[in-house]
Structures are given as C-alpha cells and as structure tokens.
C-alpha cells in the first residue's frame, strides 16, 4: 500500500459555479463539462490525451443512467477506462482514488475525474430531501427525516460520551467565522454566531437545531481534476499537488439495518451508531502517506451536522475517542489558534452541494497560497474528508505540495 503514497499528482483542477438568482440557470452537466474543460486547460492536456474518465454519482437533477457516458459524450473523449464511482458523496474522492489505481497499473497516463450537483437550482431541497437517506420501506413510513437519522446518532454520541449541545455548537460558531471570509460561502453575509444562537435556534430533530444543521449551497458546483503519475507531473507550468495517501470505508446503506452487522472495524465489537468508516479510511491514508495527524495543517470535512463534525475530529485522529466535545470546547478548532477546520465555512456555513471536488480544490488553493478566503499560513499538508450519508461511506485524502517519500 505504501507504494501508492505520493505516486500520483493532480496537475489541473477546474470548478464552475452557478448561484441561485443568476440570469442563466445551469444544469449539473453544463457545470461539470465546464469544470472539466478548465481542468484540462490548467493541466495543459487536450481531450485526446484523457485515458480514463471517472465521474461521481449521477446528479439528482440530471438523471441519466451511466452518467459517465453522458459526460464522455459531451466532452468528445475516448477513454479506455470509464465508470461512475458511487459511495454516495464519498464517491467524489473515490474518483481520484480509482484514478490512482489505474495510473499505477500503467494502463493510462491521464485520468479525468468530474463531479457535480446543482439540485438547489432545480428542485425544492427541504421537502425533496426529507427522506432522501431513509430506507423507504422500513424507515420512511414512520416519518423519518434526513436530520432525524443523524440526530438519533447524535443522541447516542452524547449519551455514550457525555458530550453536551454547547460543545457541539462550538463547531458551528467557528465554521461561521471562516465563511465570513469566503466569497462563495452561503452564510458569508449572515454575520458571526454565538453558542447561545445555536442553542436557541429552532429545533429540527432533537438534539439537532437549525444552526447544528448543514445549509444547502445556494446553487450548483461542478468540479474536475486531472490526475497523472508523479513522473509525468514534473516540469509543468502550474505546480502540481501530490496525493500523499487515501482511504475509503463504507458500512451500510440504511442506518437501521447497520445495527444488524458487526465483526469488522468499525463495528467489530458489536453494533453501534457512534463509530464510522472514517476511522478506517483515515488509518489507511495515514499509513499510505507516512503522515500522522500532527503533520496536517488544515482539514475539510463534508460532515453535515455539528455532532458529525465533532465525531469526525475523533475518527480522523485529531483527538481521542469520546474526546471530541472537550477538544472543541478547549479551542481545538478555533478560528484563531486552533486546527484550521473547514476553511470555506464547511457544510454548516459554506453549504453542501451534494458531492464534489471543491473541498479538494480549497486544500490545493491553500497549499498553493492562493485561497479564495482566509489563508492558512504556511499550509503544506491538507486533509479532505468525503462523506455519504447517513454516516455510511467515508473517503479520506491527504495531499501535499511536495512529493513525499
């Protein structure tokens, strides 16, 4: 596994955004092919050189089976390896992981990875997403809502480790500060919030209140990356960044049925609602890269609730099991002086866009010293966590400006 660490680099990224209210509404396909074009341009390669195409899952508002073929058709590329990578939202980073495996085989030289969503432009998200993550036979008929599926895990998390709502709220407060600096964050004009604001916001699904929950990114984002082997990445106009390590782990599709499955990490000791595949994925990424949590200069998660963010700090190795509450309370992820955590504002204040590589782009921009929002001084190593709900699928990627090993 170690030989995969730093074996490949991203030599070009592209991102295309369309916000609600703009005169021309764009589809996810438009955004994705625009992003792909930008990525190829930055990488300095043309469409005839793309050896593999990997897309994330089909966007909710552009349903076509074999979505990867739809993208290929528009780009007029002829890859020799092409597929959709679906681990829910974690499949976005999965496209790059698969690209690295394909590149190491020597079968291809350049892989194009593309993801995108634009649901808030086209459908009513709150009503349309109510039971999006529920088992529609055994959970949906009870009136399960997506927040409630996470909230019951939060209830267990608080119960098992004595974590308090005020500790969880702290993440929302700190994430908001980063969002105020970011030109694309959904909440950039809403001003700062306090722990009391979170604790007095409207209850959505106990114990999660409005400000404990992710907001939707008010529009669509397409994002793309060109990945190649390290030796082909050298001597290019634009400095590449290296994928130092990665890992992925999925445990279930429906949260209720997860309880009937154990015997393997992260549910080795019996069923639970408080441990996830993120710890397994992170362990793999650290092992592959030779890095440890103390080497990491900034972290982006796609955790959609305050409690899930705090839990991820444990799972990704930044504090011990059950210590997430105390870690954030003591300033662990403070905007000033803490671990730079969700530097776009995160899912809570930048907004979630379903799936994408835009968090990877934020890390790349920070490492290059050209972020859109507040810079993290001297950032060298970044971590991106991709998640597919409810707490079902996790991808972790460690990236570095320099080739390690």
């Amino acid at each position: 596994m170690k030989q995969l660490g730093s074996s490949c680099a991203v030599i070009g990224m592209g991102r295309s955004i369309c916000k609600r209210g703009e005169p021309e509404k764009k589809t996810p396909l438009q955004l994705m092919v625009e992003a792909a074009g930008l990525a190829m341009k930055e990488a300095g390669i043309n469409r005839t050189q793309v050896g593999a195409l990997f897309t994330g899952r089909m966007p909710r508002t552009y349903c076509s089976l074999q979505y990867n073929q739809t993208v290929l058709n528009e780009l007029k590329i002829v890859p020799t390896f092409c597929t959709e990578v679906t681990a829910h939202g974690a499949g976005a980073l999965g496209t790059i992981e698969l690209a690295i495996l394909a590149l190491n085989s020597g079968m291809i030289d350049y892989a194009l990875c593309v993801c995108g969503e634009a649901s808030p432009l086209w459908i009513e998200m709150v009503e349309g997403s109510a039971n999006w993550e529920a088992d529609l036979q055994f959970e949906g008929p009870y009136g399960a809502t997506t927040p409630s599926l996470y909230a019951m895990c939060a209830q267990r998390y608080m119960h098992e480790y004595g974590i308090t709502p005020a500790q969880l709220a702290r993440v929302a407060v700190e994430n908001r500060k980063w969002a105020l600096d970011h030109p694309h964050a959904a909440m950039r004009r809403r001003g700062p919030i306090t722990v009391d604001d979170v604790l007095s916001s409207k209850m959505i699904a106990s114990p999660m209140r409005m400000l404990d929950c992710a907001t939707w990114f008010p529009g669509g984002i397409g994002s793309a990356a060109i990945v190649t082997r390290a030796e082909l990445a050298k001597g290019r106009e634009k400095a590449p960044f290296y994928v130092a390590g990665f890992g992925q782990c999925s445990t279930h599709e429906w949260i209720g049925e997860r309880m009937g499955f154990w015997g393997v990490d992260p549910v080795k000791d019996g069923p639970n609602l408080v441990r996830t595949g993120a710890s397994v994925a992170a362990k793999q990424a650290y092992t592959m890269s030779g890095l440890s949590p103390k080497d990491v200069d900034l972290v982006q998660t796609s955790a959609p609730f305050t409690f899930a963010n705090v839990l991820m700090l444990e799972e990704l190795g930044f504090c011990g099991v059950g210590e997430g509450g105390a870690f954030v309370e003591s300033g662990g992820v403070d905007y000033d002086g803490g671990l730079p955590f969700n530097t776009t504002g995160g899912y809570l204040s930048f907004g979630q866009s379903g799936q994408g590589l835009y968090l990877l782009k934020e890390v790349a921009d920070q490492i290059a010293g050209q972020p859109e929002g507040r810079p993290v001084p001297d950032a060298k190593i970044g971590m991106v966590h991709g998640h597919g709900g409810p707490n079902a699928c996790h991808s972790v990627m460690l990236v570095s400006g320099e080739q390690l090993q």
């Binding site: 909710r60 349903c63 709150v126 009503e127 349309g128 109510a130 039971n131 088992d135 529609l136 036979q137 055994f138 959970e139 949906g140 008929p141 009870y142 009136g143 399960a144 809502t145 927040p147 409630s148 909230a151 019951m152 895990c153 939060a154 209830q155 267990r156 119960h159 409207k202 209850m203 959505i204 699904a205 106990s206 114990p207 999660m208 429906w254 949260i255 209720g256 049925e257 309880m259 009937g260 499955f261 015997g263 069923p271 609602l273």
Partner: protein, 146 residues
C-alpha cells in the same frame, strides 16, 4: 399488498410504490396485518435478523425463515422531529428512533408516549400496531408507562 394503493408511482416521491414489499419482506407485512412482529431467522445457524435480510451475516446461508418476536425491547436511539414534510408535517413533534428488541434485533420505528420527553435511551417499550399518517398499518413501540 399494494403499498401505493393504486396511486401512480413517481420516482423520488414519498410514495412507497417503488419500495413496496418484495419477496423477502412480504412475510413481515403479512405478520403486521395479523398484529404479529416477525423477524428473520437463519434456518442453518439460528441467528436472528432484521426483516429485510436475505443472507445470514452469521453463516452466509440464504435460507432465512420467520420467527415471532415478543415485541418487548428498549429505546436504543431516538430523535424528536420538529420539522417534517408532506403528511407528516401535521404530526410534529413526533419521536422516531431505533428499538432494541429483547431478541437482539434493532428496528427503526415510531415511539409512542403520553409525554415525548419521557422517551429516553434504555426506557422499556412494547410493540403496538397503528395506522400512521400515510395510511399504512405499522409496528410502533409504546413506552412502558409506570
């Protein structure tokens, strides 16, 4: 059993048409009609499972039959929902969560209590059968009131 009750099926909607009982779960819903809570049981190793299971995660066999649960259990996890969608909106706040049956199987369900605040982790519950908002008869769990 036609869960969609004659309503046209629409992808991505709250309707259950696409998710109506399939061969591996019809036995469960027939039990519900008789007010019996059924679990899957492995004919080879005896392990009990969630009603949607096809393969035994204990021994890998696919020969799963049905066995009746006592319907007694406790609250494993819960959430009181204050914002919902469609027909459920008028019922808020209501409590959903996972019941841990004394047989060791966990089921997602609705928790019924005189006072929602009394629904807490580890509180004992008993199965009941009620028609919920969408018009379907479902197993729910009533808090064992002192």
């Amino acid at each position: 059993m036609d869960w969609s009750q004659g309503q046209p099926l629409r992808v991505g909607d709250m309707f259950l048409g696409l998710y109506q009982p399939s061969p591996e779960t019809t036995g469960f819903w027939e039990g519900v009609k008789r007010h019996e809570l059924l679990l899957k049981v492995c004919n080879s190793c005896g392990k009990l499972h969630h009603p949607r299971r096809i393969l035994c995660s204990g021994c890998g066999e696919s020969g799963l039959g049905w066995t009746r649960s006592s319907g007694k259990g406790k609250v494993y996890a819960f959430s009181e929902i204050h914002r919902s969608a469609g027909v459920f909106s008028k019922s808020t706040p209501y409590v959903v969560g996972i019941a841990e049956l004394e047989e060791g199987v966990h089921l997602f369900s609705r928790f019924m209590a005189r006072n929602n605040a009394d629904v807490q982790i580890d509180r004992p519950v008993d199965v009941d059968f009620q028609v919920l908002e969408q018009g379907f008869l479902l197993p729910v769990f009533k808090l064992r009131e002192e």
